[in-house]
Amino acid sequence: MRNKLGAISLLVVGFLAASLPSLAHHGNASYDTEKTVTVKGTVTEYIWANPHVFVKVDAKDENGNTVHWVIETQNLVQQSTLGWTSSTFKPGDQVDIDVTPAKNGRPIGRFKGRIVINGQPFKP
């Protein structure tokens, strides 16, 4: 079933060239909300933008290989009301983040609450 959906998705992607999210608040369809993954690694980029703010983190998997994680939250204005800023993360920061992972097993996730930046819990 999931593969079928994947195949359909790919077709549609090919057709539309791009899938496009709204400014905020996407459904849970792509994420496995039952799971939590801890991502520990180094920030390589922080994108403070709409539709969603996101951060890229290089982390090691169990075999020591580097995995390029991309972790998203909500839109920029929403995050600003929660105390996030354009300098919450910067490249080189060592982070430890709880993440809701994508269902398809790719290193894509959504912030799930706990965020530690350079050893300090981030509580805006």
């Binding site: 999931r2 593969n3 959906l5 994947g6 195949a7 359909i8 998705s9 790919l10 549609v12 992607v13 539309l16 791009a18 899938s19 496009l20 999210p21 709204s22 400014l23 905020a24 608040h25 996407h26 459904g27 849970n28 369809a29 792509s30 994420y31 994108i47 933008a49 709409n50 539709p51 969603h52 996101f54 890229k56 991309v70 998203e72 839109n75 920029l76 204005v77 929403q78 600003s80 009301t81 105390g83 800023t85 994508a102 269902k103 398809n104 097993g105 790719r106 894509i108 805006p124």
Partner: protein, 342 residues
């Protein structure tokens, strides 16, 4: 960020911030200088002590960041005694989103699951997984006509409503940065709105999409057979000194009403009723009348609260930016629904 205590001017009243005692920390003086320093200290302290004991007189006394101001939470108004509403005046920056619920979730104005009074959620589940074929399992059904229901089903929302689909399968106009249009400006991501009042019209500036609407108050009639516009055509009048009623027609059919994909036709009439309760508070009731899509008028917002923000409030931008959206899709939107990777 986050603290709005008033520290800018000592004579201004304050929401005192206990951790901010910078004025009170004096270095230990040498003994011979104590009398002088004590006198100076006392003189210095007087205004700041006064500032920390007097309550703010009005919302304008509450400190905000001067740039990219953060809207005040409701608690910032605790203890304020709002002045009476000024007559026939909506001017100022108003916050509509409200506070997020204590138990978590989005603030009321966000309306991620659809219009505030008609959220497209399953009974007992405010974060639906999407995937429902229709809205028959939501608590408050809308009075769709057959055309209304068919048009609803042709709209594939990607938000948080019961019929949501993965972003790649959706057709929400906002997903390609089309204008939200009116009244979606008030039925999705309804955050900051600013009113600029002119002698013959009122301009409503919206944070979402950084767009504006002109509401004519010069007595002109609405156009006959209007050419559709994203934000339609609006006229308004004061029905009493504190209630401003706006009629809007001529909205482009490509816009959705809300994040759940509720449709409208070009025959839709929208009424906004802004009722100013006092200086700091206003309510908005919004009525949709569209006989092609709905068998009777319905009200997505009923006495929905808006709070006046302090003078000098600087509204942050909220654009849908095609290049940023393309990057997001490339890095997250598309790969998150791509085939499984193990």
């Amino acid at each position: 960020m986050g603290s709005h205590s008033s520290r800018e001017s000592p004579v201004r009243a304050s929401h005192a911030n206990p951790s901010d005692g910078s004025n009170l920390k004096m270095p230990k003086p040498a003994i011979s200088t104590i009398p002088t320093v004590a006198l100076i200290s006392a003189l210095c302290l007087l205004p700041s002590l006064r500032a920390q004991t007097a309550p703010p007189a009005s919302v304008d006394d509450v400190k905000i960041d001067k740039w990219n101001s953060v809207p005040l939470r409701k608690s910032a108004y605790d203890g304020l005694k709002p002045a009476p509403a000024p007559r026939r005046d909506l001017a100022g920056a108003w916050y509509a989103a409200g506070d997020p619920p204590a138990g978590g979730g989005a603030a009321p104005g966000i309306q991620a699951t659809g219009a505030h009074e008609y959220p497209a959620v399953l009974r007992g589940n405010n974060t639906p997984p999407g995937g429902e074929p229709d809205e028959h399992n939501i608590p408050r059904q809308l009075p769709y006509t057959p055309l209304g229901e068919a048009t609803l089903k042709a709209h594939k929302p990607t938000g948080m409503s019961v019929r949501s689909v993965p972003a790649v399968l959706g057709n929400d106009p906002l997903d390609i940065c089309d204008p939200p249009g009116f009244p979606r400006l008030e039925l999705y991501e309804f955050r900051m709105v600013e009113f600029a009042q002119m002698p013959d019209h009122i301009i409503v500036l919206s944070q979402l999409s950084r767009t504006w609407r002109t509401i004519w108050t010069d007595g002109r009639e609405l156009p006959k057979n209007p050419e559709p516009r994203w934000n339609g055509y609006s006229v308004g009048k004061w029905v009493d000194d504190y209630t401003f009623v706006v009629e809007t027609i001529g909205v482009d059919e490509r816009t959705w009403l809300d994040n759940a994909g509720r449709p409208h036709s070009s025959e839709m009439k929208v009424e906004e009723r802004f009722h100013r309760i006092d200086h700091d508070n206003m309510e908005l009731t919004l009525t949709i009348d569209d006989p092609k899509m709905y068998t009777q008028p319905w009200q997505p917002l009923i006495k929905f609260p808006l709070r006046l923000q302090p003078r000098g409030f600087d509204i942050r931008e909220m654009f849908c930016v095609p290049s940023d959206t393309a990057q997001y899709n490339n890095e997250i939107g598309d790969p998150s629904v791509a085939p499984d990777q193990k």
